[in-house]
Symmetry: C2
Subunit: 192 residues, 2 copies
């Protein structure tokens, strides 16, 4: 029962760095690009092992290689490291971690394919089921019990996608939000 579970970006990032030897590699690559052989010798591990570690780091976009002769010269993506740490500084990002709790594995897969790293919607899913997953994700930006004027609703929705009108319509249609009066007030409908 292989858990072919596609893991989300932030988790992959931490897992990649949660190993002493991989941190060593990062440190060495921070000085200068190096070959597998060189790294392997420096940290005292077999080459196949080193290669695995590099693959893991590459999957997290922390390193990449260019080929030179027989050698694969790996170098560090300093900016990827920095971008990730900068993301951690945003409260937004941390609060989104709790999305993981409710969404099950399949939901998560949908989210990870339709959201970009910042949590914005890249494109809208055509399938109804998947669209609903996205909408449930969006609606969490609204406090239950609170009432929002249309202007504020738009502001919030714009954080997710520029097509705020489509989002607003869909949220109403799928009964995730309620609306009152003509250009009136909106509120989040409690799930349960």
């Amino acid at each position: 029962m292989a858990t072919q579970e596609q893991e989300f970006e932030l988790l992959g990032f931490f897992k990649a760095l949660a190993d002493e030897n991989r941190l060593k590699i990062i440190g060495l690559l921070a000085q200068q690009p190096r070959s597998v052989e060189e790294l392997s010798a420096a940290i005292g591990l077999g080459m196949s092992t080193t290669s695995h570690h590099l693959e893991r780091l590459a999957k997290a976009s922390l390193v990449s290689a260019r080929t030179d002769g027989h050698y694969h010269i790996y170098s560090l993506h300093t900016d990827a490291l920095k971008e990730m740490s900068q993301r951690l500084l945003q409260d937004e990002q941390i609060r989104q971690l709790s999305e993981l709790v409710n969404s099950d594995a399949t939901d998560r897969k949908v989210l990870s394919s339709f959201l970009d790293g910042e949590g914005r919607i890249k494109t809208f899913p055509a399938q109804d089921k998947k669209l609903q997953v996205i909408l449930r994700y969006v609606v969490k930006a609204f406090e239950p019990g609170q009432r929002y004027p249309e202007k504020q609703v738009n502001e919030i929705l714009l954080r997710f996608n520029e097509d705020k009108a489509f989002l607003r319509r869909s949220l109403i249609e799928y009964r995730l939000m309620g609306r009152e009066g003509g250009g009136g007030e909106y509120w989040r409908i409690d799930p349960d």
Copy 2:
């Protein structure tokens, strides 16, 4: 053969966050402080397991608990998270990872007890052996082959400890650096 290896701070940080359920916990605690029971129910794990995860997070200073009746109410240390991510942004910090490569287990232990999180020297070891470990660590801030005027040497040493004079004297004494002339120039003596 228990590897009672005391691990350094950054590695502990990443390991703590390299688990999906622990990230969920972080997300939940970002909303509000919660008890073990509550967390356990929310993420669908046994209480003992949840307790283990919390312990791991606590060891990385990411959460802490206050007691309220029978309950242990855990809350998130947002600032610890942010401080760590800010550190990652410093090149200094990343380059220090390569220190891990050369220093063996015992060296590392010395370093971790005499350095603070920023890599500065908290207090100087009394034991000669340990002092040398610290000095070898400091001397790496100097490029081999380059010559430094005393003014610049002082600047660099100040990054490690305010007692720059002691550091300068010790580096000369233990032949990790050389000096020429009266108030002259300094250079790093190549190790080998």
